[in-house]
Symmetry: C3
Subunit: 211 residues, 3 copies
């Protein structure tokens, strides 16, 4: 990866890891897991998406288990949730804001890392961005025994995909710059927040016989 | 992989991807997911097995995220299910036929790719074939919150294993040819259909105290 | 990996694989899966942790699908559970002892393999040890549709982490020897058994509103 993006990459990763650790910790608190269950679920939610990304593009071992800064951010997020969860619960609305921020950060961080990795096609880079963004939430929900939000919620994967497309197109055009990255993350964030506010959902099947 | 099998490999992959996308989309429709939930589950079911296969044998990035033909087939399967699901539901029996075809296609595609990859032992190639064949269904069921069919259904993994063994033995004997591949896929399909028709199940534990 | 540890590595792997196969098979029997469901879940529980470990450190294909000795041990564990499950159920207490032994064996086997792999940092090696130790149980529980024990049980991940730390510190100090490995595994086993006996749990959140 060009050194010029290393700091943007790290900043985006840290933002995403911390807020997804909060979301994972909150789910664990609600399920009445103990301290270590909260920490484990916070770390799985925070680091899962990035670990899958690195496996898919061949960055072994994944930064999610080797970079102490990301690990610290994940554990810190879990600890904060454990200690202050009544506060965190009251600010559920704020958590959704953070979750949208994490979605944007991870979509951009994932597609940026993929598109700057030799041998990864543009199409693959977009998908890696989406998987990075939604992966941690999927791991969190599967471990906690609930259907992943990406499958049943207001537009969730679509903003992540749009942000990834912006990053990959910019890379193809040779105009990948810091402000493009942050703008892309901001667009994902804004679209996701609009979907949450307006309860925008994708269309559902016209009719269906329950299983 | 020898070029001579590239077209058989692609054809088998495409068949498997499309029919597993139908099966994933159908489960999503029944769970009342929205359009994007249907597409995500269809793609996860269709591409999951192949992605795990490629991670296990070191083909990075996996074709499941980099080959636009497979991605298109997966998305198309999801879209078809979303648009025509009452029809698809009525033809559930036909879907089981397709599912058996996918099982055969993926068992052969997986073991073929593994056995022609340097450094993969014959035993590993057989297992990679089985994992390719059943992996997408496992991903689909775990995401949808149901126990994977491979664990509770009529003989499912066994036909896949037999097909993989045929491919790997043929490779060892130096007699890997197109007709062997399609025959192996046909045998898996036939055995699976016989198991479905006759409700053949493996023996269950003699007695068990419920948890 | 230094040849000198190859036999310890294999012995630790075999112990862990066999006892986790028993635990996976037992869960499958209780869920009334058929013979192949029992074998599949036993193999997934037994080999899942090691496969994830090898993916994370880049040992492709993972030994969990290529080493016939591990595969045989896993299948044997599943078969034993299927045939003798009333006996195995009666000895649930003994199974918990075996599970603790598997935790110790896999924590040490995982961190040992990681720390002796070039390019894996000490922090990553510790985490790989923990993931190896708890990974199989997570796969088992997710497939069987129950919340993973590591999230809701008495101290489970912590003993595994302590054992991994011992191995990695010993490696850093250049004093990695067979007796250190077996002692580390023994310490994990002892701590886990103490936690089981005393029903030691990590603290739970002070209060929580159910979801």
């Amino acid at each position: 990866m060009p050194t010029s993006f290393a700091s943007a990459q790290l900043a985006l990763d840290l933002v995403g890891v911390f807020v997804f650790a909060l979301s994972g910790g909150l789910v664990a608190v609600k399920k009445r897991f103990d301290l270590f269950g909260v920490l484990v679920l916070a770390c799985a939610a925070a680091l899962g998406g990035g670990i899958v990304r690195d496996l898919l593009i061949g960055d072994i071992p994944p930064v999610g288990i080797s970079d102490w800064r990301l690990l610290t951010a994940a554990a810190l997020g879990g600890l904060v949730t454990f200690l202050f969860h009544p506060g965190v619960e009251r600010i559920t609305r704020f958590v959704r804001v953070l979750d949208a921020a994490g979605l944007g950060a991870f979509a951009v961080a994932g597609s940026l890392k993929a598109v700057t990795t030799p041998g990864v096609s543009p199409v693959a880079a977009v998908l890696v961005g989406v998987i990075t963004a939604v992966g941690g939430g999927v791991v969190r929900d599967v471990l906690a025994g609930q259907v992943p939000e990406v499958l049943r919620r207001e537009l969730y994967a679509v903003p992540a995909m749009l942000g990834s497309v912006v990053v990959v197109v910019a890379a193809q055009l040779g105009s990948l710059q810091d402000w493009v990255l942050w703008t892309a993350a901001g667009v994902v964030f804004a679209l996701r927040m609009i979907a949450v506010r307006l309860h925008l959902n994708a269309p559902t099947p016209l009719r269906s016989n329950p299983l």
